[in-house]
């Protein structure tokens, strides 16, 4: 079904997409997880993850359903990201104030360091990535209903 030549772009684009899309997704996750160590962070990483899914849909066409995320799931995931970020903020009340970095700071230059900052990065990446992907999905579904008319 994915290989249906009627949907999406040409064979060249599909083959190259198959090779690169996993690397793009992995790079996005790397940027999110290393947000407190290297340039990047939750916003940029989340958009890169969303772009890898957009890449799939652009190459294989809307009908192939390669990125199995519906609008409902997308909006639920976005709300989950927002709630996660808010709960990280509320976690600061354990130490007394809003957004206080209460967790163990750890050693600098290590992956598990900087207290609550990695959790903030992950929740922001979920929120931003899924939110922008939901906008793309909404536009594509709108285009599909127009074509049926």
């Amino acid at each position: 079904m994915i290989d249906n030549p009627k949907n999406g772009m040409s064979l060249l684009v599909k083959t190259i997409t198959r090779i690169t899309v996993g690397l793009i997704l992995l790079f996005g996750i790397y940027i999110v997880l290393h947000g407190h160590l290297s340039p990047g962070g939750g916003f940029a990483g989340g958009v890169i993850v969303a772009l890898s899914l957009v890449h799939l849909i652009l190459a294989f066409g809307r009908e192939a359903k390669v990125a199995k995320i519906s609008m409902n799931l997308a909006s639920n995931l976005e709300s989950l990201g927002a709630l996660m970020f808010l709960s990280v903020a509320l976690l600061g009340f354990l130490g007394g104030t809003f957004f206080l970095n209460v967790l163990n700071k750890g050693l600098p230059f290590k992956l598990f360091s900087a207290g609550t900052i990695p959790f903030s990065n992950i929740s922001i990446s979920i929120k931003v990535g899924v939110g922008l992907f939901a906008i793309f999905l909404a536009l594509i579904i709108l285009e599909g209903t127009k074509r049926k008319r």
Partner: protein
């Protein structure tokens, strides 16, 4: 020097994007402004902003091109052009007048006058444990700002999904059938 060339290129591309008749060319012009801005961030040694700008620019370009392709809107320019030109010139004059007086008060470019930043740079690594200072500022010292930004994005996504949702369009289609 490179920065000034980039700024000139961005102004030129923005004028092209406004003035060109074709909608797709206009979108490409906006994209050129965005990518030049990404290069400008790299020259100013802000890789975080450069990555974010590049990625968001690509996504916006894809969405805008998909939204505008095969959908050229006719440009309406006749009528009241004398008044429009006069209003634009008057606005530019007022803006330049106030901008001249406001910009004289600013410190020169690249001059770190803000005293709060000194404490962030000196204490950032020790107080947050994050090596990337930009992340330390936006997610620890100024996390409340980031919460506001996240709320703005959340509200805009909800607004777009509410405008484009299925039930509203179904009702419109039923009305058209009647």
């Amino acid at each position: 020097m490179e920065l000034h060339l980039l700024l000139l290129f961005m102004i030129f591309a923005a004028i092209v994007a406004v003035e060109v008749k074709d909608l797709l060319s206009s979108v490409i012009g906006v994209g050129a402004v965005g990518f030049a801005l990404c290069l400008a961030f790299l020259i100013l040694k802000a890789p975080d902003l450069a990555i974010t700008q590049l990625v968001v620019e690509i996504l916006c370009l894809i969405i805008l091109i998909r939204a505008t392709i095969n959908k050229d809107l006719p440009l309406v320019i006749e009528g009241r052009w004398v008044f429009n030109t006069f209003a634009t010139l008057a606005f530019v004059a007022v803006f330049l007048f106030f901008a001249f007086h406001a910009l004289k008060e600013l410190p020169s470019f690249g001059d770190p006058i803000m005293s709060v930043v000194k404490r962030y740079i000196a204490q950032g690594k020790a107080e947050t444990g994050a090596v990337n200072l930009v992340t330390a500022v936006i997610l620890d010292f100024r996390a409340y700002d980031t919460l506001g930004e996240a709320t703005v994005l959340f509200a805009s996504v909800i607004g777009i999904m509410a405008v484009l949702r299925r039930p509203g369009r179904k009702k419109i289609e039923e009305k058209n059938h009647d």
